[in-house]
């Protein structure tokens, strides 16, 4: 029975279905949810535009470690923390506008490099289990971050602004108002089509990153990473410093995530000091998976398809749930159930797909051997 189902998966159309199961399920769900939600097209486009502009950068940060064969980089949370530390400083110093944002980037880059280097070294010790290690690493660093922000700031690092400092004299408040840098990049090049504000500058930044990633694949380092991603031993034999290359991929990813988080928060305008970064990894990875990527293969189109599908769900699900079940609070539960359920589903589906792929691979080799033996 089991054998039969596996041979079936050799069929290319079934294989396609399996490969793109998550995006397909999402498209079906959304097709049902959009009319149910009763939201107007205008709102929908506007919301999608905002979500594309604020989430794409963070998700693009995931691509390079996938290239180096390190799977989904859950430790982008570290980069997000670095970005937040930069934002805390500029809020404390009351530096606003685009210069405030640039200063935050300037301050947080070395922190992100350091954190990325640390994460890279840890992940090198856990080859083959990068994802779960990265996930736990994020929890670990969250503790350090809390210690730093809740006790260090105001005690060791001077913080003078009473609007971000807890009344007890040390530690940062739960929410920080980022009014000073709110949407400075989004509105840098103002363009309005009808009622829809298009964040031109933000999209330009995202486009630049896409160009960078495409170019990066072709550089010597990019080639090395892909070799490392294919096979560590082959890479080592051909003279590539595997460990170093892997660390570098994580450093780049962390720094990009740091910028991504700053971009995200400048759009949101408020920062939750202790929670803003927590979901970053999970949401970015889920979106990428929804976009049809796998832990071993992810490209730029996956990112954008993922953002559109995953966030459309976020936009329509609460109202659809309300329309379906009548009560507002049930709509909220419906959204949580669908959104997180789908994340779990896409991860489980990947694990299953990987097992099937392995099985197929083994089968191919067996067949090959058989054919050789038959000769």
């Amino acid at each position: 029975m089991r054998k039969k189902s596996l041979t079936k998966t050799m069929n290319p159309s079934v294989l396609f279905l399996i490969n793109y199961a998550v995006p397909i399920i999402f498209i079906i769900l959304i097709a049902f949810a959009i009319p149910l939600s009763g939201l107007s097209g205008l709102y929908f486009i506007r919301e999608l535009m905002i979500r594309l502009s604020r989430n794409s950068f963070l998700i693009l940060a995931l691509l390079i470690p996938v290239m180096a064969g390190m799977g989904m980089n859950f430790s982008i949370v570290l980069g997000a923390m670095a970005g937040e530390i930069g934002l805390i400083f500029i809020t404390d110093w009351q530096i606003v506008g685009i210069s405030g944002m640039l200063l935050a980037i300037l301050i947080s880059t070395p922190i992100a490099v350091l954190l990325g280097y640390f994460a890279g070294i840890v992940l090198n010790r856990a080859k083959g289990r990068e994802m779960v290690t990265g996930f736990m690493l994020a929890f670990f660093m969250n503790g350090i971050y809390q210690l730093f922000v809740l006790f260090g700031m105001g005690n060791i690092i001077p913080i003078s602004n009473s609007s971000i400092l807890l009344p007890r004299g040390y530690g940062i408040r739960n929410t920080i108002n980022l009014l000073g840098i709110r949407q400075v990049l989004d509105k840098l090049i103002p363009l309005k089509i009808g009622d829809i504000l298009i964040p031109v500058a933000t999209f330009l930044v995202i486009a630049t990153l896409c160009v960078f990633i495409t170019w990066f694949r072709k550089t010597k380092l990019g080639q090395d990473m892909r070799t490392v991603g294919q096979d560590n031993e082959v890479a080592r034999v051909s003279g590539i410093n595997v460990e170093n290359t892997r660390v570098l991929s994580i450093v780049i990813s962390t720094v990009l995530a740091c910028y991504g988080q700053i971009l995200f928060l400048q759009n949101i305008g408020t920062m939750n000091t202790y929670q803003s970064h927590e979901q970053v990894g999970v949401f970015a990875i889920a979106a990428l998976l929804v976009g049809g990527a796998s832990v071993a293969k992810a490209n730029i189109p996956n990112v954008f398809i993922g953002v559109i599908l995953f966030h459309t769900m976020f936009v329509v699900a609460p109202r659809a749930g309300k329309a379906l079940m009548g009560q507002a609070q049930l709509g909220e539960y419906f959204r949580v159930f669908v959104s997180y359920g789908v994340i779990a589903f896409s991860l489980a589906l990947y694990a299953w797909r990987k097992r099937v792929e392995k099985e197929n691979e083994r089968k191919k080799i067996m067949n090959y051997r058989k054919s050789i033996l038959a000769k």
């Binding site: 500029i90 110093w93 009351q94 530096i95 606003v96 506008g97 685009i98 210069s99 405030g100 640039l102 200063l103 300037l106 301050i107 000073g180």
Partner: protein, 126 residues
């Protein structure tokens, strides 16, 4: 090797300089605007009417006598414009003052003092 060190130091220095530059041009200052009685030396300027206030061409609002309001400004040099308002009509009598703020400075501005062209119309504090 030495060349590399020089390049790196130069790069770091340049980044720090850019940082300082960004700090100065992006720094926010609070300007508190009082329409209250003020005593400078022996002279007392008293608040008697209502004014509309603009700081850096941004309308701050109507300040009645005895009230205060606050404006947030960015950067180094600034301009404040005060115009009297009577029964919701602007009288056209404008008073304009310019001032510069160092980083970490905030200011308290007094409208009666501005109207009377007193020297101590602004009080800068760190």
């Amino acid at each position: 090797m030495r060349k590399q060190i020089i390049i790196r130091t130069a790069l770091v220095t340049a980044l720090i300089l850019i940082g300082i530059f960004l700090y100065v041009i992006g720094k926010e200052h609070k300007v508190v605007i009082d329409n209250r009685d003020i005593s400078i030396g022996d002279i007392t300027y008293s608040a008697s009417t209502t004014y509309v206030v603009w700081v850096d061409n941004q309308e701050i609002g109507v300040i009645k006598k005895g009230e205060r309001n606050a404006a947030i400004v960015t950067g180094v040099s600034h301009k404040i414009v005060v115009e009297e308002i009577k029964s919701n009509v602007l009288t056209g009598e404008k008073h304009e003052k310019r001032f510069r703020l160092k980083t970490n400075e905030s200011a308290t501005v007094n409208i009666p003092a501005i109207i009377n062209n007193a020297n101590e119309w602004i009080d800068k504090t760190n």
